[in-house]
Symmetry: C2
Subunit: 367 residues, 2 copies
């Protein structure tokens, strides 16, 4: 049994967790950079909760709310310059994967002189500001991973920086911040978390310990399939999805993702398809491939999903995603070629060629 486990983030979850644990902010600094997007931090109520907590400990703060979906390299450099100008000594991220991933890069760029050419080179980072993360979606798992995923225009895709420095110090999880999420965001983020868990389980790097997290996340998300479909999610369901997304995050922190995420990135980069949705569109294609070589692994997956066949699972995911986009064969060829450059393709438990990827995309979009 060879395995490794490392996940140093302190995870606190519960109703009003920010208010109940407000003293935690005072441990990490005197001047916070709050990294967030345009809306979700405000509309979820999380920003108000954080500001109240900071005020009660007289911690000053600067709000940097310029993070767009699929954040660019430029915006994290801008964030780092704002942090330096304001002498911030710790970072609070509020939002989905985009603000959280951007916050990691901002925290690192504030403490290290790294050129834009080297931004994806994790060996350039030696220090980082302390980070407290508050997710407002239940998908990315960024609050418990060492990954910062940014738009990589040079390689026309999204690329990950991985460094153990990037684990946040604290993640504060409260499902109340998800209660106003729209149907599409709720479903897409849940599918993203489900893909994390399934890809981790079907990764070459899967171990006894990563599997504890991935299979539990799969079980929890599967229990919410009906509620997701009806878009009828109470606090308890939202909590289950949030908790599952963190468990799935812990799983990929140990295995990384595989071909599903790789094939999803071009759909997002070139066609602006939401990240979670992009993964969900191609997920089943990977499972059908794996089933040819590892039917036992797929049977264990189906057991965790509480389903009896991949076809049944395909129907669940298809009904959650609704009508598919039109993608041409020329686009598919470009996406497949682009995907083959990513190292996580070879992290999949079945070997895949460029033609396999073309077939997989074609099965989704041309049939």
């Amino acid at each position: 049994m060879d395995l490794s486990y490392y996940m140093p983030t302190k995870l606190l979850m519960g109703e009003n967790v920010v208010e109940k644990n407000k003293s935690i902010f005072s441990i990490y600094g005197k001047s916070a950079l709050i990294v967030t997007g345009k809306n979700s931090a405000k509309s979820s109520g999380a920003l108000d909760d954080v500001i109240n907590a900071l005020n009660s400990y007289k911690i000053s703060y600067t709000v940097f709310d310029k993070i767009m979906p699929n954040p660019t390299v430029d915006v994290v450099y801008l964030g780092a310059s704002v942090a330096k100008e304001n002498n911030c000594d710790f970072v609070i991220a509020i939002g989905g994967g985009s603000p959280m991933d951007a916050a990691k890069a901002i925290s690192a760029l504030t403490k290290n002189n790294v050129s834009k050419e080297d931004v994806f080179n994790s060996s350039k980072y030696h220090d980082i500001m302390p980070m407290i993360f508050i997710p407002t979606t239940a998908g990315t798992g960024s609050e418990v991973t060492q990954y910062s995923i940014l738009t990589d225009d040079k390689n026309e895709t999204k690329t990950s920086i991985a460094s153990t420095l990037f684990f946040p110090n604290v993640a504060l999880l409260d499902a109340k911040y998800m209660k106003n999420l729209g149907r599409a965001t709720t479903i897409n983020t849940a599918i993203d978390a489900l893909c994390h868990a399934i890809e981790s389980y079907l990764s070459k790097r899967n171990t006894s310990v990563s599997e504890i997290f991935s299979l539990e996340a799969i079980r929890l998300i599967a229990k919410e399939f009906n509620n997701l479909k009806k878009y009828d999610l109470d606090y308890n369901s939202r909590s289950n999805l949030l908790y599952a997304s963190s468990l799935a995050g812990i799983a990929i922190a140990h295995t990384s993702t595989v071909v599903v995420h790789v094939m999803g990135y071009p759909l997002t980069y070139y066609r602006d398809i939401d990240h979670g949705r992009a993964n969900g569109l191609v997920l089943l294609q990977y499972l059908y491939k794996v089933n040819e070589s590892y039917p036992d692994k797929i049977n264990r997956l189906l057991e965790a999903l509480n389903l009896t066949s991949l076809k049944e699972f395909d129907n669940v995911i298809s009904s959650l995603l609704g009508e598919k986009e039109n993608v041409s064969l020329d686009e598919i060829k470009k996406f497949a070629s682009n995907s083959m450059k990513k190292k996580n393709v070879s992290n999949s438990i079945v070997e895949l060629t460029e033609n396999d990827l073309i077939d997989m995309y074609s099965n989704v979009f041309l049939k």
Copy 2:
């Protein structure tokens, strides 16, 4: 869903894990204090492996091999003075629970001026030396907990110091160090790990996340019951027990133990009964009590154990423990009174009086 999760130790497991990860020692310092007992570090081969690793990075070291079973307060002060005299800047613990627990206190006492009267007061510790732990038994889980448990002569028991500083930086797990363990030690440590997992699961502080670890540990140890009984344990079985003991350790890091450990301590303190065995002797009494109020919880436990009744489980444990010690009613009354002073009694999911504890001890030793 209220929960918290924090376990910052990096866990690395595999055959020849020390040799394969020897560069890790160079990260933490230039002069190591190796904390161990009289024999197990040497006989297991772990000490040689560590010294080879240190030599290859020219890291100096001092071997402090004075840790006895159930280590005293005096021995950890002695260890700290040896660390200071030799300018040690990090600690390597090799052994079972006694060297590991002692190493935590030594690492802390080297960096903080704390009087012997205050040794159990965790608020007195503000800094600690980095620690690398190498277990040579599969029971304590100390390599992944914040607890240091020492003999407490003032209160005539064993008492725990709990501090998040006490999580080791790294735990290196290799089942080859267990291959020469005798039958009694193997069984007693496996039962200790099983008690950790079961007590955590039946603790008031049990959560969705602690339960992932406790139930998986229970499943893994139960699979080895037959091999334990026959004392027929190959590398794979030893690995399963070692991995399970770490999972059980992660579980109690979040919940602590309950009345079983509390009732075990006087058996060890006054009668020198091995720690794991002491817990095993009283374990079933707690389960019978819990079953009166929470039969569903016991059914889930039995499912994880792959057994059908508590009586069947009782038979498994009894056959592993063999003949019981003679303990008189007068001793039992003293042990019960002593146990009631421990806060972890109230951490049990059923309320227990001193008379309950007298009955529970009596069921074990007087019937």
